[in-house]
């Protein structure tokens, strides 16, 4: 069946709410309004206000409440409107959710899933468009996942809820309306491994979330020139599935990383460093990175486009690498 990324996320929520009574969803406008991006539309009517809870506009408060509920045995799903707003809850996420298992000697776990929108491309300007998942991927105690496909949007939530520790699930804002095929029996998927979305022997393109589409588009263009790109979807940003990426590099000997984060101190920097640490003698060309320009995301359409990694930039980087 053909459904959108948004509908796949909603199906995942519905399944979780149906299958496990400890699961509830809370966040700003997730109930009556159906979620700022419409993901939870209809769930209030279906599951009632006890389990689909609108919260006050205080990220710190409702993330904190979610951590408390998780400590108390519930399986809360907290929605934060965008990653930019999650900064108001950094103390709760990093000082509490990520640390309690370690500080309690394993006695206290925080089985919490926080969903949030990330990324640019919709003219929402600098305070709603940043890609800060790379920051969170820096933090031990958190698992960071980024579904880029319909199948992952449908299947990652359940696996995340099974994790005894906090999981942050990043939904790229440009993907909600993207349609795709989903098998009728689609079910939970792993959240451990990166996936090869396209096989090729000439150059490895690494992307995740919103940049997977950019990488795949670039791969199509490169194929027209006879350059076969292998496209790796990271899927899980922490812990990184280094093996899948480096195995691909061992086949192609060239690496291009596409990251909507800024280059400096980014996830792309981490991947490049790991390739240099573990696969330097496989590299036949300098590692290329295609990242967002080091500016707050602009509002104006053409400036926003110019700031973001585009398929043409990826094609150019791959051509430089292939030589």
């Amino acid at each position: 069946m053909t459904i959108t990324y948004r509908e796949a996320l909603r199906e995942a929520l519905r399944e979780a709410l149906t299958e496990d009574e400890r699961v509830f969803l809370m966040g700003e406008d997730v109930g009556a309004y159906g979620g700022c991006f419409g993901v939870s539309l209809g769930l209030l009517e279906e599951f009632g206000p006890e389990r689909i809870r609108d919260t006050p506009l205080s990220e710190s408060a409702f993330v904190g409440a979610g951590i408390g509920a998780a400590l108390g045995g519930m399986r809360p799903i907290v929605e934060i409107m965008t990653v930019n707003f999650s900064l108001l809850a950094l103390d709760q996420i990093i000082n509490n959710a990520a640390t309690l298992r370690h500080m309690s000697g394993g006695q206290l776990g925080v089985p919490l899933v926080i969903r949030m929108t990330t990324g640019a491309g919709r003219q929402l300007a600098a305070q709603h468009s940043h890609s800060l998942e790379g920051w969170y991927a820096h933090i031990p105690g958190l698992r960071i996942i980024a579904p880029a496909t319909i199948e992952d949007a449908r299947g990652m939530l359940w696996t995340a809820l099974e994790d005894p520790d906090p999981v942050l699930l990043f939904e790229h804002g440009s993907l909600y309306n993207v349609p795709g095929e989903l098998a009728a029996d689609a079910a939970a998927v792993d959240i451990d491994r990166a996936a090869i979305r396209r096989a090729g022997g000439d150059v490895t393109l690494v992307g995740y979330g919103g940049t997977l589409r950019t990488a795949l588009t670039a791969a199509d263009e490169l194929a027209a020139d006879g350059v076969e790109a292998e496209v790796v979807d990271l899927r899980t940003l922490r812990p990184l599935d280094e093996d899948t990426v480096l195995d691909s590099v061992r086949r192609t000997h060239r690496l291009v990383i596409v990251d909507e984060g800024w280059r400096t101190g980014s996830l792309s920097a981490e991947i490049a460093a790991r390739a240099a640490e573990a696969a330097l003698y496989e590299l036949d060309a300098p590692i290329e990175r295609v990242c967002t320009a080091e500016v707050p995301i602009p509002y104006a359409k053409q400036l926003e486009d110019a700031a973001l990694p585009q398929a043409a930039d990826v094609v150019a980087a791959a051509r430089r690498a292939v030589g």
């Binding site: 022997g201 000997h253 330097l280 003698y281 496989e282 590299l283 036949d284 060309a285 430089r320 030589g323």
Partner: protein, 430 residues
């Protein structure tokens, strides 16, 4: 009609450079000049003898023209790539030095300020430097590349090698110092490794050369068995007709023009390869590239051990006595270390003839990137069905090792059949 040619000179001019005569050569010494200024030379003429530290190699010219100037005297050792002579089209020198092009009419070459400073200090004109950086920008390495031959440094400077290429060079036994920069990738190393096994007759006082040849063979043959899915076919060919014909042929000529059966086999192989082109060429980048004509590699074993594979240019097109002459000449020179540069050109198909040493048949290892290897065993008298009777005939077992990526068994069988048919009509091989 006369037009001034672009490029600032009145005529076409080519530098004749110290050639790289194999992966392990980084410098060479001119032993002898066979031309002098004013001589007209043609592509393929032997113009100089170069000592590669292992052997003297006759070096051929790659252009037609007139020797304008000898730049390097006999006896001087210089790195590969150093200009040795200037070969022009014979036009006279311009009456006076042509002034540099007006800066205003020439686009400024892209180069960063530090590179400009470096070039200025080194006295290099950036307009003459080929940029290899992003957008054609000139890098420091590009400038150093220009400086390297000028300064006649013992080793090329400023060559950047990708880590993977460096690793491969170690695995394949390729000496990176012999490859042209400024940036070396894996494909450059692969290309160098594909060059014919260039090493000369090992001698007791040169154990290094022997070891280097061993390593080159080891790397190539390992690569062949690692990458190439070989299939093997064989055929037993009755040589009675061919040998009787050859005996008659030899009776009619002096001992100097006598032909050995190997020459017949080589000519037949070249003709069969032309008939079945799917076995004649290279497997490159995941696809078969048919050879432009048949260039037959001939595996020549050296008495001290080791192997050289000189290339014969299209023996199928030569008369049999020419094939024989070429064969004797090349084998003798291979064994005395005087191969010519053109005989080190990549072959499209290789023949090995172990039969002379008594082996009955050979299941060969293909020489990458070629896609087939033809082997001949010993010619020996054996029982053979002739009509309904048993006869004793001189037989040879011809084998084919072929790359299953490039061809299938039916193609290989067609080749062996063509070979048999050619040898049954020896007068056609004259």
């Amino acid at each position: 009609m006369w037009w001034p040619r672009p490029g600032g000179r009145w005529g076409d001019v080519a530098d004749f450079l110290m050639p790289s005569l194999g992966a392990d050569m980084d410098e060479g010494t001119i032993l002898e000049w066979l031309v002098k200024p004013g001589d007209v030379v043609h592509r393929g003429d032997v113009v100089a003898v170069v000592d590669t530290s292992k052997a003297a190699v006759d070096v051929e010219c790659f252009t037609d023209g007139t020797v304008e100037k000898i730049l390097l005297p006999v006896g001087e050792k210089v790195p590969v790539g150093t200009p040795l002579a200037i070969i022009g089209d014979g036009a006279p020198e311009p009456p006076q030095a042509v002034t540099k092009p007006e800066p205003a009419t020439k686009p400024q070459p892209l180069a960063s300020p530090p590179v400009r400073t470096f070039a200025k200090q080194a006295g290099v004109d950036l307009a003459a430097v080929h940029g290899t950086g992003r957008g054609g920008a000139i890098t420091r390495a590009d400038v150093e590349q220009v400086l390297a031959p000028r300064a006649r440094r013992p080793e090329p400077a400023g060559v950047r090698v990708s880590p993977y290429a460096k690793r491969l060079a170690g695995e394949l036994g390729v000496d990176l110092a012999t490859l042209p920069g400024p940036v070396l990738h894996a494909r450059d190393v692969h290309a160098a490794a594909r060059q014919p096994v260039q090493a000369q007759r090992p001698q007791a006082e040169r154990p290094q050369a022997e070891q280097s040849m061993r390593q080159t063979i080891a790397a190539l043959m390992s690569r062949s068995k690692r990458e190439i899915p070989h299939y093997y076919l064989s055929i037993t060919i009755d040589l009675q007709t061919a040998l009787e014909w050859l005996h008659e042929y030899n009776r009619g000529v002096g001992v100097q023009d006598r032909v050995v059966p190997t020459a017949l086999l080589i000519k037949a192989t070249a003709l069969a390869a032309a008939k079945v082109p799917a076995l004649n060429g290279h497997w490159v980048g995941g696809a078969f590239r048919p050879g432009d004509g048949v260039r037959l590699g001939l595996a020549v074993s050296l008495r001290g051990g080791g192997l050289l594979v000189p290339t014969l240019a299209d023996p199928g097109a030569l008369a049999l006595n020419e094939v024989m002459r070429t064969l004797s000449d090349v084998v003798a020179r291979a064994r005395t270390g005087r191969l010519r540069s053109s005989e080190l050109a990549p072959a499209t198909l290789t023949v090995t003839n172990l039969g002379d040493l008594g082996a009955e048949s050979v299941q060969g290892v293909i020489y990458p990137p070629q896609v087939a290897l033809v082997g001949f065993g010993a010619i020996s008298k054996r029982p053979w069905a002739v009509g309904d009777l048993l006869g004793v005939r001189p037989l040879v077992t011809a084998t084919l090792a072929a790359d299953h990526r490039a061809s299938d068994g039916a193609i290989g069988a067609r080749f062996l059949d063509a070979l048999d048919k050619l040898l049954q009509r020896p007068e056609g091989l004259r």
